[in-house]
């Protein structure tokens, strides 16, 4: 038998199995959509996988640039993914992220969160002490308009709703906060120096402004304004700033996996935390637009909202909001 005739016969016998390939592909598609539970069907899927692998290897040689190969490549890839990773269910994937992945990331990043929080607190205390001792230094941290308003005995937040409606204010605030958080995170990539700068500056400014308004008898009004949204907003700032240095460390000390792989792992891990931060900031933005500047909302309600939202944040970060047990016992 000549080589060409042999090749022709092999190809023809291979193509005679086209019906089986189509059945295999249909089965893989069904399973990928989560529409197959029968054990016999699962066993058939495993057989399909072997069949497709065998026939694809031959088609790659006999018909390298053909639509038959294209079909088999797609069917094989689909069967491989379905067999190894199961069906995709968006709800389950999201639940896994919120219940299992996020708490794990928070635990892994706990040292970074502790350090960034400490940095923020120290900067805040430093800013407060500076302006408390040298009031003229407020010019370094606040705009002339803000200083003039406070010196008139008013907060810049008063009458805010007369200028901008709550809806617009909320959107402006939450968009700005999300951008700042992402920026704080990305700045951390610069070997953590960006985080140091952003958190340090924000802490200094907040401390300085608080000292300045205290000197003019406006501290209670400012805290009343901040309490509803500030607990979560400041916590989220520390959280997102903590994620950046974690990536930076992966770049500086990549470990055996290599710099690229370490960056990828660290960025994916911390990226998950950023998603939660963005969600929390949306809520904080709505509170800051609707509740914080509204003079009709009492202090008690503000405290309840602020503390309640902060506890909700803790429940979200620990996974308990989505049914994660408080403590896992070892088997």
């Amino acid at each position: 038998v000549s080589g060409a005739a042999r090749r022709h016969a092999l190809t023809a016998s291979l193509l005679a199995r086209a019906g089986l390939w189509q059945q295999a592909d249909a089965r893989a598609r069904r399973f990928a959509r989560g529409r197959g539970e029968d054990a016999a069907e699962v066993a058939a899927l495993a057989d399909d996988y072997r069949l497709l692998a065998h026939d694809l290897a031959r088609v790659r040689t006999l018909l390298p640039e053909s639509r038959t190969r294209e079909f088999l490549e797609a069917a094989y890839a689909r069967t491989h993914a379905t067999l190894h990773h199961g069906a995709w269910r968006a709800g389950d994937a999201l639940l896994t992220l919120l219940r299992d992945d996020i708490p794990l990331v928070v635990r892994q990043l706990a040292p970074y969160i502790a350090w960034t929080t400490l940095l923020f607190v120290l900067a805040f205390a430093g800013g407060y002490a500076l302006v408390h001792r040298y009031p003229e230094l407020i010019a370094l941290f606040a705009s002339p308009d803000l200083i003039a308003t406070v010196e008139r005995g008013q907060l810049w937040t008063e009458g805010l709703l007369n200028i901008v409606p709550s809806s617009v204010l909320s959107v402006q605030i939450l968009a700005n906060n999300i951008v700042v958080s992402l920026f704080a995170y990305c700045a951390g990539f610069l070997f953590g120096l960006g985080t140091l700068y952003i958190l340090g500056l924000n802490g200094l400014m907040l401390g300085a402004v608080l000292a300045f308004v205290s000197q003019h008898g406006l501290r209670t009004q400012l805290l009343t304004f901040i309490v509803a949204h500030g607990c979560v907003e400041l916590s989220v700032m520390c959280l997102s700033a903590a994620a950046g240095p974690a990536v930076a460390e992966a770049l500086i000390r990549p470990g055996p996996a290599g710099r690229r792989e370490s960056f990828r792992n660290a960025a994916l891990r911390s990226g998950k935390l950023l998603i939660v931060c963005a969600l929390l900031l949306v809520g904080a933005g709505l509170i800051e637009g609707y509740i914080s500047p509204n003079p009709r909302v009492s202090l008690g309600v503000r405290i309840a909202v602020g503390v309640g939202y902060w506890l909700l944040m803790l429940a979200l970060l620990s996974g308990r909001l989505f049914g994660r047990p408080a403590r896992r016992t070892a088997l």
């Binding site: 022709h8 190809t11 023809a12 016998s13 193509l15 005679a16 086209a18 019906g19 390939w21 189509q22 990928a32 996988y49 072997r50 692998a53 065998h54 694809l56 290897a57 006999l62 018909l63 390298p64 640039e65 053909s66 639509r67 038959t68 294209e70 079909f71 490549e73 797609a74 069917a75 094989y76 890839a77 491989h80 993914a81 990773h85 995709w88 968006a90 994937a93 999201l94 896994t96 992220l97 992945d101 709703l161 409606p165 709550s166 809806s167 617009v168 909320s170 959107v171 990305c186 960056f263 990828r264 792992n265 960025a267 994916l268 990226g271 998950k272 950023l274 998603i275 963005a278 609707y290």
Partner: protein
């Protein structure tokens, strides 16, 4: 018929690697532009319809009063459609969107499996970096220069875009009950021409048919259009009494 593309090779227990052709910057841009138009039109459509209903007259002016209904009914849904389009659809559609589906691409993890929810959301969080300084410059440049054509978000999330071939179909020649008299590669060509017959111009299909008949059939290649089609179909039929 497509030429082999540079792609992701995933090892398999069978010893036959899974090959996933990686989508380039062109396919990415195409998908993004379609998605961008869809989300913009949907968000604008919602805003216009809801604002007209809210105002009760032919006006799209935003509410100047302190009214939560304006925010909840008009502004927030429009913004949500525009900003959460990728986040929600990629989760719901297993790493795809209408634009990606049109471009024939899909997001996968680096092991070829469907990307996790965390990875899909993380790659979207990084859009803010990819879009810097404007018009997705950072994302576009990294997609062009990196070997796997990934943007920063994909690098961070460990994902990449591959051609899906969701609609890859077996050619008619391969689906025939009996092997044709032609070499299978030639049969594919003939079958493909017959499939595309209605969409080709008369001159093109006559020229192509005559070329194929001249190459694979020892008949006279002259004749009317109908007979060319008939002769091509005859080529795909099994030989009378041909053994399987």
């Amino acid at each position: 018929m497509s030429s082999p593309l540079p792609g992701l090779q995933v090892e398999s227990v069978t010893g036959i690697d899974v090959s996933l052709p990686v989508a380039g910057a062109g396919a990415r841009s195409f998908a993004f532009l379609i998605d961008w138009h869809i989300r913009l039109l949907l968000a604008l459509g919602w805003y216009v319809a809801a604002a007209l209903i809210y105002n009760g007259r032919l006006s799209l002016a935003p509410s100047t009063s302190e009214d939560a209904r304006w925010f909840a009914g008009v502004l927030a849904p429009a913004l949500a459609i525009y900003l959460l389009y990728h986040w929600v659809l990629e989760l719901a559609m297993r790493g795809s969107t209408p634009g990606k589906r049109t471009a024939g691409v899909r997001i996968v993890a680096r092991d070829g499996s469907a990307a996790s929810a965390g990875a899909l959301l993380a790659r979207n969080a990084f859009r803010i970096i990819d879009s810097l300084p404007a018009l997705y410059c950072v994302g576009l440049v990294t997609a062009i220069v990196t070997r796997e054509h990934v943007r920063i978000g994909d690098m961070a999330a460990g994902t990449l875009l591959v051609y899906e071939h969701a609609e890859a179909r077996l050619p008619a020649a391969a689906q025939a009950a009996a092997p044709p008299q032609l070499d299978p590669a030639a049969a594919e060509l003939v079958a493909e021409l017959l499939e595309r017959w209605p969409s080709l111009t008369v001159e093109s299909r006559q020229r192509l048919a005559q070329q194929l008949l001249g190459r694979y059939a020892a008949h006279d290649a002259d004749g009317g259009e109908a007979s060319l089609h008939e002769r091509l179909e005859r080529l795909l039929r099994p030989l009378p009494g041909g053994a399987r």
